[in-house]
């Protein structure tokens, strides 16, 4: 395999990996703080994709411009979901929480099917078919813009958790719920905010991904599984780890496809997952359980 083929594959894997990483951030945020595994992860992201699709169809709005709107809408959805539904089952055994979110996932898919039908639908932005070249390296515009948007959203999220009072309060809840309550933090509100932020991440990721792929209601389970793989590789609860995991998956899948067969891509990701679980169960950037 020649140098440029491999370089192109790595570049493409890096760009797509950043977008995958952003989508996995939503899962990591919610699990890291609330300790609930969001089985409706992919479905919420697909809702974001459909929202961006509607904005494109109705207003001609580029999906990248829909990112803040999709994030805002999904924030409200996530906030209300946590307040009204998820908070009421948080004391129940984990399998019941899983079932609740799996049921929610099925309901979302059914609703999307009713509204949008089963057909794959996409947006035709001006640059959808465009690419640019540096010598033999060819980068397509949608992938590059999507990766830039993903980096911006992820940076804003990391900055929020690092520099804002609310972000620090949420991290305090994640570190020690009881301690947070003792010092007077409104944990229920912070949990709802966290779920909202996680969902907002997914909304943003959905709008961005619509630039790259067509959307249909059955897309979701694949993304849920992918996010799990990324988050476990990067480290459960580690935000930066989710980004690193996304890049690793994107690049390793691209290289595997070139060196072996494209049909081996998924097997390669799962191979990586097994390797990480065996050698570093807490994930590459996760903290070891004490």
């Amino acid at each position: 395999m020649d140098f440029w083929t491999l370089t192109n594959a790595v570049a493409s894997g890096l760009l797509i990996g950043l977008v995958y990483g952003l989508s996995a951030l939503g899962l990591s945020v919610i699990f890291g703080v609330i300790r609930i595994v969001n089985f409706a992860h992919g479905e919420i992201m697909v809702m974001g994709m459909f929202f961006a699709l509607v904005m494109f169809r109705w207003l001609g709005m580029d999906p990248l411009l829909s990112v803040p709107l999709a994030a805002g809408l999904m924030f409200v959805f996530g906030y209300v979901l946590q307040r009204v539904v998820v908070s009421r089952v948080s004391h129940l055994p984990e399998h019941m929480q899983f079932l609740l979110l799996a049921a929610l996932a099925i309901m979302i898919v059914s609703a999307l099917l009713l509204i949008f039908g089963p057909d794959a639908q996409g947006v035709e932005v001006d640059y959808a078919w465009e690419s640019f070249a540096f010598g033999e390296l060819i980068i397509d515009y949608p992938k590059m813009f999507a990766a830039i948007a993903a980096v911006i959203v992820a940076s804003l999220l990391l900055a929020f958790f690092k520099y804002t009072t609310t972000g620090k309060a949420i991290r305090a809840c994640a570190d020690n719920r009881m301690g947070a309550q003792v010092v007077g933090l409104n944990v229920d509100r912070l949990y709802a905010l966290t779920f909202g932020i996680g969902a907002a991440c997914l909304g943003a990721a959905g709008a961005i991904i619509l630039l790259l792929f067509e959307v249909h209601p059955y897309l979701a389970p694949g993304y849920t599984l992918l996010a799990f793989v990324i988050v476990i590789i990067g480290g459960l609860g580690s935000l930066f780890g989710a980004l690193v995991g996304g890049i690793l998956i994107g690049v390793s899948e691209a290289i595997a496809a070139i060196l072996f067969q494209p049909s081996m891509k998924t097997a390669f990701s799962f191979g990586l997952l097994i390797l990480v679980l065996l050698l570093r169960p807490q994930g590459l950037l996760g903290k070891a359980a004490r």
Binding site: T5, G13, G222, E253, A257, Q261, P262
Partner: protein, 413 residues
Amino acid sequence: MSDKMKDMKTSSASRRTVLVGAGAGAVAAAVPLRRGLAASRIKVGILLPRSGPQAQTGIDCQRGADIAPDVLRAMGYPELEYMLGDTETKVDIARAQAEKLIDAGAHVIVGAFDSGQTMAAAQVCEQRNIPLVVNIAAVPKLTELGYKWVFRSFPTGPMIVGDAFRNQKKLFGMNGATPKSVALLHVNDTFGTSLAGALFALTPKFKMPYKIVEKISYDPYGRDFSAEVRKVKAAKPEALWAVSRLNDAIAITKELVRQRVDLMGILSTGPGWYEDAYLKATGKYGNDVINLAPWIDFKKEMARKMRDAFRNKFPGRNMNTNHGYTFDAMLIVADAFKRAGSTRNTDLQTALQTTNITNNTTIGEGIKFNKKGQVPHVPCAAVQNRDGKPLVVLPEYAAVAKPTWPMRPWTKR
């Protein structure tokens, strides 16, 4: 006598009738008359992927079934009563749904678009002695395993590949442009693997003018197809031969354009590249693709009737293989039921074995099954996407346009 008393008397007098009726009902319940009585309508269990990754194509097939009852009734065929089953694009669900349809009283099963899912349904039908009329499924072993209840008018993989080779040679000869190297990109499901296998097995026999320089298998339900196309580009083929599904065909086309992979032509065998959703999603970039596939022959009377009904019911949609072969499956069932005069399974089986339909909708002489339940020769067409419409360009007797070959470069569209 008061009205109430009269009612009671009437009620009392009819009690005997009720008892007799109940007795008859009990006997009827004990005997499987469901499959034995002469009936005015036949229950057809239509098994298709209506959800999951193949949902779009499954629902597209259903459109062919939806227009069949009215067209067939107008031509003197009996009533068809549909029962719908969803395979969810999964082999195990296909098996369970076939069982469910039969338990619910289906006299015949039609389906199931995908080879793997159809194989699962065939095993159930074989165990339960219920005819399976295949609409679309190309895997050869479906009619090679000695099944007695499976009937297929759709071509097998080797038939599709054989005609694909023949049509390619004609296409290259007509236009004087012959590729010397081809990359084969195929899905890794039952259909894709069996077709790619047939292609490799038959290449030497047909003495094709090109060499297959790269064989790339991929997961049709993947997300990003840039690596697949990059691998094609690295092989530097003059033409691409794709065996795809729908969404992957759209994604592959986008990647071919973005990665600036200009080719003499794209040859496709299988679904995806001619479907409406593909043509809409790819616009001008979807044009010029040559689909080497079984197709509708609009020069046949039945096909024209089907097209008229389709245009009324689904205005703005193009017709394709999904509609033609699903319609033909309904025609086969209606014809067998008409001749059998009963819904008894063995009567239907016998009638299906003696099917001889010449006025069907798809290309070829008609539908006549051999002892294996297979129509022995089903010719395929070369169908080119032109201005968002799939048009038959070969064979000549069914052609409605002349082929454009080589295809136009991406930048000159």
